[in-house]
């Protein structure tokens, strides 16, 4: 076999990394509605919350499916180690997503059984968000592997550290959901959303401070990367904090769209910081991107199709958000 002219591994790494952050940002705010759902003051607010994400939520979740299949195609080692290692967590994640998805559809059509769908939506969303956060924590912890196989136990992914990252993501998604609601609602619903932002921001900052201090102890590799010398990656947490400050100011000023953008900024810079901590290890602590990659011809075969489809999906997504721009009203039920 001749050496390929161009290594597609990094192209694929970029595609998957892009898919993950797209998923986190987009499903994040609609999972956030679910996390906050039962805390809403009235059924009217819940109608608004659901209507604000109804047109877009299932498009958001398709990124997850694409990510799963794309991982198998481009980085099969990630797929075949993460899924066994996170076995129970993956089940909770999927069960949560299924329940909230079905609840989404049926709540609009239900009357007497509506409260049941409310709870299914809230619990499903919260469990899914927690499981995703725990996955991030497990990734930071690393996986016990031998000869390209996971050899750890069923609950290695569930540790005090991953519980904290799970709670961190629940709080983060709730913040994303609250700022989304500030942007999309008005009146008493918006006032409620405004009141949520500051406590949630405080919770997120507190949990992330603990995670940041804790992480270098969990993984010496991260400690080496961040503390061995002054590096430009220090900019990333600084930028994340700047976004947090921006969010605080924009809430003080009662801005409507800015808080959501600032929260997305916090997520993006934290995410980049996480990637920078682990680069180029994709199955820490043993395997790098190139070790986890599939064969060149397989990467190429799928890339040809994706180059055609991803732009179409992006345009379609942008168009959907454009069509549904502006404030949501309760009687505008998309059911």
């Amino acid at each position: 076999m001749s050496e390929p002219i161009f290594d597609l591994t990094y192209v694929w790494a970029a595609i998957i990394a892009f898919g993950v952050i797209m998923y986190v940002l987009m499903d994040g705010f609609d999972l956030g509605q679910g996390i906050l759902f039962m805390f809403a003051p009235s059924e009217h607010d819940r109608d608004i919350m659901m209507n604000s994400v109804a047109p877009v939520w299932d498009g958001n979740e398709t990124w997850l499916v694409l990510g799963g299949a794309g991982l198998l195609a481009a980085f099969p080692l990630v797929y075949s180690i993460f899924l066994p290692a996170l076995y129970i967590g993956v089940f909770l994640l999927l069960a949560g997503l299924i329940f909230r998805g079905v609840a989404f559809e049926f709540r609009f059509k239900a009357h007497t059984s509506r409260y049941l769908w409310n709870w299914a939506f809230a619990i499903g969303s919260t469990v899914a968000a927690f499981a995703q956060g725990a996955v991030v924590g497990a990734y930071i912890q690393g996986f016990e592997t031998e000869n390209m196989r996971y050899v750890g136990g069923a609950l290695d992914w569930l540790s005090p550290f991953t519980v904290l990252t799970g709670l961190g993501l629940v709080a983060g998604y709730a913040l994303l959901g609250a700022t989304w609601l500030v942007m999309k609602s008005e009146g008493s619903t918006q006032q409620w959303a405004y009141r949520l932002v500051k406590p949630l921001l405080a919770a997120v900052l507190l949990i992330f401070a603990i995670i940041s201090i804790w992480t270098p102890f969990v993984d010496p590799f991260v400690s080496e990367r961040w503390f061995s010398h002054i590096t430009p990656i220090w900019l990333l947490p600084i930028l994340a904090l700047a976004c947090a400050f921006w969010l605080y100011r924009s809430i003080q000023a009662k801005r409507e769209g800015t808080p959501f953008i600032a929260t997305m900024g916090m997520f993006i810079f934290t995410y980049l910081g996480l990637l920078a901590s682990k680069w180029p290890y994709v199955v820490p602590p043993n395997y790098t991107l190139s070790q986890a990659a599939s064969a060149h011809e397989s990467q190429l075969f799928l890339l040809l199709g994706l180059l055609f489809v991803i732009p179409i999906v992006l345009v379609y997504t942008a168009w959907t958000y454009w069509v549904f721009r502006g404030k949501v009203k309760a009687d505008q039920g998309y059911h």
Binding site: A69, L72, S80, L83, P84, F91, I98, K109, H111
Partner: protein, 460 residues
């Protein structure tokens, strides 16, 4: 108690995939039917066809939604329970399964929204085109899935290097030896499923005396289609069987419960295969018939199960009986299609209560046939996952314990039971609401591009 993660994983996969399969097999057939109806609406400009199309599109939306929800789980099963298989085959199955997702994505982005919500907003021709593209899209999706499955039955186009399959010839791998047989068999199965559900529901509406003339027309058209498709399926199934005989003789031997390689093999109508004793009890058969079907000669030689040692044989009773159930359903379908032809005179097919009630029951037959057919081909491949190359035991996730597998097995059964109960219940509401409710509603609230928002009925 000693829990075997292999057995539990097999049960879990069988459960999850069986549960999932009933939705796409129906939507694929129904999508074609909807395209046909909208084609007629476009051609004749008759609002009746529009109404019928709108009704079945609502049913399609609910079933499609359920298929998507249950399908999410599928894309993770390979990694959670069969990670050695996922890793070894990733160079081929990764891109193939991803293309399936990409196709579904593209389909949803471009055409599903127009089909579900575009009626009255786009020209009829465009709406028909969207319906056509959705139905083609469902076939492309199944193309990739069946290619992946066929490759596991008759692997080709790859070579093994350092524990990984590497693709050396994409077209040989995708269009492997059993692919076209399996694809045709499944395509026809989807048509039969769509056809018999439409026939059953139409029959129910006629019995209930609701929108009778429209549903009589629908039933008439469907019966003509079934008259062609049902016998054609028997013919294609026979060819598929011959292809299996060539590549997987042990599977065919298990289908016929034929233990010894011999000539003049009878076609068993009844038997209780005994895997321990390696023989059958209470055999009732037609002499030499199996030889004739499989080799097209009365004294043709049929391979026996005993060609394989005991530990390399599939579960014979399961394969044998699943095959009989599938064939029985197929024969019933042909009989109903022919009865429909006999009752053509004076449109008796729309008045004969026995026939109409029978059609109602028959709407379940294709699902039974499809599931038992998959049991034949999947259980019959045992002990292999990639036929002749990788066993199920080798494919299993090494770190998986019996307790973990049992936990998720019970979990998925519980989750699917809730989802299925709600979905099936809601589907009956949509059907009960009927074509009368499928008239145009206000558009504003239909802008949500989610499948289920296309349905109008209340949940309770």
């Amino acid at each position: 108690m000693d829990l075997d993660p292999l057995v539990l994983s097999r049960i879990q996969f069988a459960f999850v995939v069986s549960f999932h399969a009933i939705f796409p097999v129906f939507t694929i057939g129904l999508a074609s039917y909807i395209a046909l109806i909208y084609g007629l609406a476009f051609k004749t400009n008759n609002p009746k066809w529009e109404r019928l199309g709108a009704f079945w599109t609502q049913v399609f939306a609910v079933v499609f939604g359920m298929g998507v929800v249950s399908g999410i789980v599928m894309s993770f099963q390979f990694g959670t329970n069969w990670s050695n298989f996922a890793l070894a085959t990733s160079n081929f199955l990764g891109p193939i399964l991803s293309y399936e997702v990409v196709t579904a994505f593209f389909l949803e982005a471009a055409f599903l929204g127009v089909l579900l919500f575009g009626r009255g907003k786009v020209p009829n021709g465009v709406h028909f085109f969207a319906a056509l593209m959705v139905s083609i899209g469902t076939f492309i999706s199944s193309f990739w899935i069946l290619s992946a499955n066929s490759w596991m039955q008759t692997p080709a186009g790859v070579e093994m290097r350092d524990g990984f399959y590497h693709v050396i010839d994409w077209s040989a791998a995708i269009f492997n030896d059993s692919f076209w047989y399996r694809f045709s068999h499944m395509a026809l199965a989807s048509f039969l499923t769509g056809g018999f559900v439409v026939a059953g529901v139409s029959a129910w509406f006629i019995i209930e005396k609701r929108d009778t003339e429209l549903h009589r027309k629908a039933l008439s058209m469907t019966l003509w289609l079934l008259l062609i498709i049902a016998p054609l399926q028997i013919f294609v199934g026979d060819m598929h069987g011959l292809n299996t005989l060539k590549h997987q003789p042990t599977k065919v031997a298990a289908m016929e419960a034929n233990w010894e390689t011999q000539k003049n093999v009878p076609l068993l109508l009844f038997a209780i295969p005994d895997q321990e004793a390696q023989k059958n009890h209470f055999e009732v058969g037609i002499p030499s018939m199996a030889s004739l079907i499989l080799t097209h000669e009365w004294d043709g030689e049929v391979p026996g199960i005993k060609e394989m040692p005991r530990d390399q044989q599939p579960n014979v009773p399961v394969v044998f009986w699943s095959f009989r159930i599938m064939v029985a359903m197929g024969v019933l379908m042909v009989l109903f299609a022919i009865t429909g032809l006999i009752l053509r005179k004076n449109k008796a097919y729309a008045r004969n209560r026995w026939f109409l009630q029978g059609l109602r029951l028959m709407s379940l037959a294709p699902f039974v046939a499809v599931l038992s057919g998959w049991f034949v081909t999947e259980v019959g491949r045992a002990p292999y996952l990639v036929y002749g190359q990788m066993t199920q035991a080798e494919a299993l996730t090494p770190s998986l314990t019996g307790g973990m597998a049992l936990f998720t097995l019970i979990g998925y059964i519980a989750v699917y039971a809730c989802v299925f109960a709600a979905g099936a219940y809601y589907l009956t509401r949509v059907i009960r609401a009927g074509t009368e409710a499928a008239e145009q509603h206000d558009d504003e609230r239909h802008r949500a591009k989610r499948p289920l928002s296309a349905a109008e009925a209340d949940f309770d």
